[in-house]
Amino acid sequence: MSAPGKTERILRVAVWGAALAVWWALYNNLAAVATWVTYSLVGLRKGSHLGAAVEFFVYEVPKVMLLLTLVVFAVGIVRSFFTPERTRRMLAGRREFTGNVLAALLGVVTPFCSCSAVPLFIGFVTTGVPLGVTFSFLISAPMVNEVALVLLFGLFGWKVAAIYLGAGLTVALAAGWIIGRLKLERYVEGWVYEQAAGAAGEADAPMDWAARLAAGRTAVREIVGRVWPYVVAGIAVGAGIHGYVPENFMAEIMGRDAWWSVPLAVLIGVPMYSNAAGIIPVVQALLGKGAALGTVLAFMMSVIGLSLPEAIILRQVLKLPLILLFFGVVAAGIMAVGFLFNALM
């Protein structure tokens, strides 16, 4: 190791350290800045509807964007260790139950885009990953969303984040296991299994840390660049609810006593599609106005976990009864989570 290389490494670590320190300082002073901007700079009256809404917006937008940037960067690095090819090798030939558990967990960290759902599905089932295990992966990958997870952690603390993670993994595991047990291979379009089996494609090129950090930066550019309008729109809706909807208004329609609110939340949530970053500020505002945690969780999971476009894409490889069952089982699982948490909390 030559001396210049070492100096450069120390310098690089110092730059990253300084960047983190700046991040931390910004993050911790947002509340004071938001209060100052709202009531001193803009001059709104304390306790007014508009003031509450504006303060919420001015505080939450930079806070969520800061959290999002840090998290997406970290996740980009974590994901450079997990490729779909590697996940498939880990899942091929697994026994059902262990396979479902592993698939649900890998779904969280493997890079996945719903536009790749079909190639991934075919690639999995033709190389010996059982159908139910494949479904556990396909359910967990969008539903247990790392952006959602960390936003929940940032806004509500580790308990709500842990509940969401546990609930999502359980639904993915159970739904995949049930679909596997039902032996529904006949509802997969015939041409899928005619695809010559075999793993090929890209060999995993070894990556060094410079490449992994670059992957993190790319993730920030792509994901934050794509979701920020949703975040701002979500927070604007949240701010409106925060400022204008009366306290406990939501307790009537989304509270724990209204048993029908859970299935209704899922029914509304499934056809809706938004990414996790946009839905969480809305979730925060609903919870703040007395909506029950289970109901809100069910709504959020059905919005980000199940979507109409995904169903249309999957129709290319799955016959209709299997798609309906897939959505039915997952929706039922989400409802069970909703009822459970409304009963417990």
Binding site: T83, P84, E85, R88, P111, F112, C113, C115, S116, V118, P119, L120, I122, G123, F124, W191, Q195, A196, G198, A199, A200, G201, E202, T218, Q316
Partner: protein, 77 residues
């Protein structure tokens, strides 16, 4: 002549990959042919797990992401 194929069912990233590959190939200067493969069965014959994917002379060089032009040049070269 180099044969460049872009695998993808038409998502935004597939378009982006085609643009990047085209730019990289132009910069390299060698004669090439660029084809977009959008038909699912044909895409699956390359056994990729994620799209978009870049195929050069029948070999999958990259899948699931869009490279930089510099990286694409290396993959094509």
């Amino acid at each position: 002549m180099k044969k460049i194929q872009i695998l993808g069912t038409g998502c935004a990233k597939c378009q982006k990959l085609a643009t990047v590959a085209d730019e990289a190939a132009k910069a390299l200067g060698a004669p090439y042919e660029l084809v977009k493969v959008t038909e699912l069965k044909q895409i699956m014959s390359f056994k990729v797990l994620s799209t978009p994917a870049l195929v050069v002379d029948g070999v999958v060089k990259l899948s699931g992401r869009v490279p930089t032009v510099e990286e694409a040049k290396q993959l094509l070269g």
